[in-house]
Symmetry: C2
């Protein structure tokens, strides 16, 4: 075992891209939140109301997405129960009462064969050794299909499950996230790709000079290593990030393979896209190797009227009290009941949760001159939602993709399984007819399907093999 890098080590983060310009490819991620993204989704007649713990249902969703050749499926996460409002609690499925996402990915790994498997895990409330090992293990189980959405967490409710009174300060948790990421990626390189010999004849199981200790000593972590699992098939599971603050965008530009984002208009998406690619270039990376996927929720009909009718049926299932409480939550946990429902949105303190979510909503209320009641009703159809025909939705996707507002989309499903089935059977064939989306997976790993190179180990260099 060697404890320090050889002198010849190159600290390259990614391999050099080919000289020829590559054809841009559209990428689609399926953001699965059973029984669907919308608060009333569980009341839809085709829904599985117990979807959160119904493994057969989730396997079926994953297989539908795989048949449609989505790059990956994704599960978000919270390490706590965020809602405390009893009126809301009793009526919605957002208590996050579902499978733990890394065990869910592993379960889906053996129930699928080609689709990528991405889950959120927090750098604020985890240990880097466990997290590195968990995602390396899923990458091995799935043959190179794992992805980690790096988040720094949102809620006081989460902090209080880990010995803290309130959520860690924004800057401190990003500082911890950066060190956490360095430890995790360092641990993934514990074994060189060719460390294992498995030579039954000579009895050499592996080359011990190709096992490396990390010996990390930082402000937040002390981790000796090595990680007790071979290097992941992808070298490094795909890294996803979704920060929208300055700190968040810089972290994404520095480390993310995929960026989830959210923009109500193409113009805003283009500004974000250009900005993030520029930050990636400034960080010494090939901007083509950062895949930007804005959120997109779709409701599809053969006609626009049919699509609108589908959405109306769903929104009629939402209790107005739930809509109002949800609005209050996204505004940062304010108490809206003290204000007249038919009056304007009051001035609000800056949210300690998601400042971008708060800003989006306030802008929308001011721009539309909306009352609290009107705003709550409108929010049941969020600003990512596109309602239309297969052709009009494909137009939207093509316009954003070709206009460089997106490298593809993080597709959100208002209710399941219907809106996934519709997207798979109506929208994706239309995208294929236009030559925009794959008919078959080209790669074996998620990185390959995303068009991303396999990162070399930080220890990789041409060295002669040691003798037994």
């Amino acid at each position: 075992m060697t404890a320090t890098p050889a002198e010849t080590v190159t600290p390259a983060e990614t391999v050099t891209p080919a000289d020829a310009p590559r054809r841009r490819e559209l990428h689609l991620n399926a953001f699965l939140k059973p029984p669907g993204e919308y608060l009333a989704a569980w009341r839809h007649p085709h829904a599985a109301p117990d979807a959160g713990v119904n493994i057969r249902h989730v396997i079926e969703l994953a297989r539908t997405a795989e048949r449609a050749k989505f790059d990956a499926i994704f599960f978000a996460d919270l390490v706590g129960v965020p809602f405390a409002d009893q009126e809301v609690l009793r009526r919605v499925s957002v208590v996050n009462d579902s499978f733990e996402p890394t065990t869910l990915l592993a379960a889906l790994a053996t129930a699928t064969s080609r689709i990528g498997l991405i889950a959120t895990a927090s750098t604020t409330y985890n240990e880097p050794y466990h997290l590195a090992r968990t995602f390396a293990s899923i990458d091995h189980i799935s043959g190179g299909r794992a992805g980690w959405n790096l988040v720094t967490s949102l809620n006081d409710a989460e902090a209080q499950n880990f010995g803290l009174d309130q959520h860690v300060d924004h800057e401190l948790r990003y500082e911890r996230a950066a060190e956490f990421f360095a430890v995790v990626t360092g641990l993934w390189d514990s074994f060189d790709d060719d460390a294992f010999l498995y030579d039954q004849k000579t009895g050499r199981y592996f080359d011990e000079t190709r096992l490396h200790r990390l010996d990390h000593r930082g402000a937040h972590f002390r981790v000796t290593g090595p990680l007790n699992i071979p290097r992941p098939p992808q070298g490094r599971p795909v890294i996803v990030q979704a920060g929208s603050s300055e700190t968040g965008k810089n972290l994404a530009a520095a480390v993310a393979d995929v960026v989830f984002t959210h923009h109500p208009s193409l113009a805003e998406a283009q500004v974000f896209y250009a900005d993030l690619k520029a930050r990636a270039r400034a960080a010494g990376r090939d901007p083509d190797e950062v895949v930007v996927l804005p959120g997109l929720a779709t409701v599809v009909g053969r006609t626009l009227a049919e699509a609108e009718d589908k959405l109306d049926r769903l929104t009629r299932l939402l209790d107005p009290r739930v809509a109002l409480a949800d609005l209050a939550y996204w505004l940062g946990g304010v108490d809206l009941t003290a204000h007249p429902l038919d009056g304007p949105l009051p001035e609000l303190p800056l949210s300690n949760q998601s400042q971008s979510a708060q800003r989006h909503i306030v802008d929308r209320a001011r721009a539309g001159g909306l009352t609290i009641r009107q705003l709550a009703a409108q929010l049941t159809r969020d600003s990512r939602t596109v309602v239309g025909t297969p052709a009009s939705i494909a137009d939207h996707i093509q316009e954003w993709f070709e206009g460089r507002g997106a490298d593809g989309f993080n597709v959100v499903f208002p209710y399941l399984p219907d809106t996934l089935d519709d997207f798979a059977t109506l929208v994706i064939p239309e995208l294929r007819r236009r030559g925009l989306f794959r008919a078959e997976y080209s790669g074996r790993t998620l990185r390959e399907n995303l068009g991303l190179p396999r990162p070399p180990s930080r220890w990789s260099t041409a060295r002669p093999r040691t003798r037994s």
Copy 2:
């Protein structure tokens, strides 16, 4: 959400057993360590040398065990690489270079349907919220087949991956383990069994009065809760413990459903069995609800000579340097190279790892008058190993079971897949002929197959349902 138990809560840990004495049933757990328990197992011609990260191979092992109707399969764990000796490292597969066990259980949950799924997880280097959630999730994914082997960890190598310089002191880590267990089981009861209504018509998703905060404030943990997943199908995943110190045995008697243990003779097993059942009774539990499973490694042949030959072929594959280093490791990390190989075992300091392992080996050396070299060679066949015919091995099992040295066995496989295949196709049919072992699973959950009751929630009591 209620934050404190109702006055009528009964703090029962288990339900009352039926009055009629139950027929004792033999239970078998398959302790899977790919590519096999013995150090040279990976060199066996039928072995998968890359078994640690070969998911197809592990799925095949799990399915073989399920076809044979084992109660469960089990994966041990370490959160580090224990061996530092380079001579050994290069020649063995004990660097623990395998799947992380909870993700592996989840992957196997969707590749099997009836067998129990048990993994080790440390109370010293985990957070109770994560661990409670992970095992609850596996229990939901598998439909009630999860088990947690509670360990307090062994090595300095593990401590150094979690910000510590050396392993936590024995008493302190058992104190932490007891509090950890209380938090985990408390979190599993966050939702009452009947909390979820899923009433699409009225819009009542669940009964918020049946969600409970834990509000734990202890010496080691502050955890508010609730856990964000419904109560596990088994109420509580099966708890396994394997401590052999006084503290360890008391913890097992207080909390374990299954006890893994290790005895070289029936007489010693009987003493342990009686002692542990008495401790369980003293802790207010039904001793029949603590299933004691000593370790048993078997090599089966049609004749004794054939079986002995199989084992000899395997031991000839073991490099003597590896055998010696393994001996040194189990003695507590002593340096044996300073002593003549053909001389006696020197006086040793008390091991800071496993004191029982050290004592077993020293007793064996003294009793047999063995040199260091002889002892190292003998250890390749450990004291659990029974070599014989299907009839002689069934005799052994029957004698220990009927003699109340065991409620069944934690079956260890010297090399895989052969010794599992042999046990499944030769020994188990012989046990069935004697009426000792099941031909079909009787239960749907691991608890049911182990003959254990489903623990009620600590909050369970007859309460009228609240109105919407």
